[in-house]
Amino acid sequence: MLKGLFKKTVQLSAPMVGQIIRLEEVPDEVFSGKMIGEGFAVNPASGQVVSPVDGEIIQIFPTKHAIGIKTKEGLEILIHVGIDTVELKGQGFEAFIEKGSQVKAGDLLLEVDKAYVEAQGKSMITPIVFTNPQNYKSIDVNYGESSGIVCEVKV
């Protein structure tokens, strides 16, 4: 029991099925240059987005293309579905949670029409970024095909 209390690692499962890639490979300098924070990205095979952790939805953007989750350890996770998808103004995005929702890892957050997004000329590559750098020490990512735990964050 005590071990659980002193746990200093947050484990993330993949929010989308696909290839886990480096943040540096994201075709947007805001993410690849880590201007927002450390993290990783998914090049997804489908448009279903699930929660990578247990936590609280602290933000859902009006355009539904991005979601913020906070874990009980205080880690803030931004899931930004696609690149420049703010320009789609919510078209092709359906949300299944709202601000304040408590979620478990694996809970459905968003259903995204991948074909529509790509038809609009947008990349579906989805950065997952830890936005409060003062609250974590290091991250360890399992790159490649998504399965099981894809990222561990020391907090």
Binding site: D28, V30, F31, M35, I36, G37, I58, Q59, I60, F61, P62, T63, A66, G68, E76, L78, H80, D84, V86, E87, T131, N132
Partner: protein
Amino acid sequence: MKSIIIKSENGLHARPASLIVNTCQQFTSEIFLVKDGNKANARSIMNLMAMGIVTGDKITIEAIGEDAEAAEIAIFEIIEGAN
């Protein structure tokens, strides 16, 4: 306090928001962006982006502290530069 109307087609999204957060680190003041009475801590990218600031919105920059005036000017210039 400084106000500005957002003209950028995509509002205040990831790019300018990350610039604002990084610029805030140069100052000790508390810095906020206010839209329709909603206040976001300008040091939090999550809060800024989630305000959903779009074209045509009027934003007020509010800083409180010793370097408040300089902070307000710096943030104003970023938003103006992105407009």
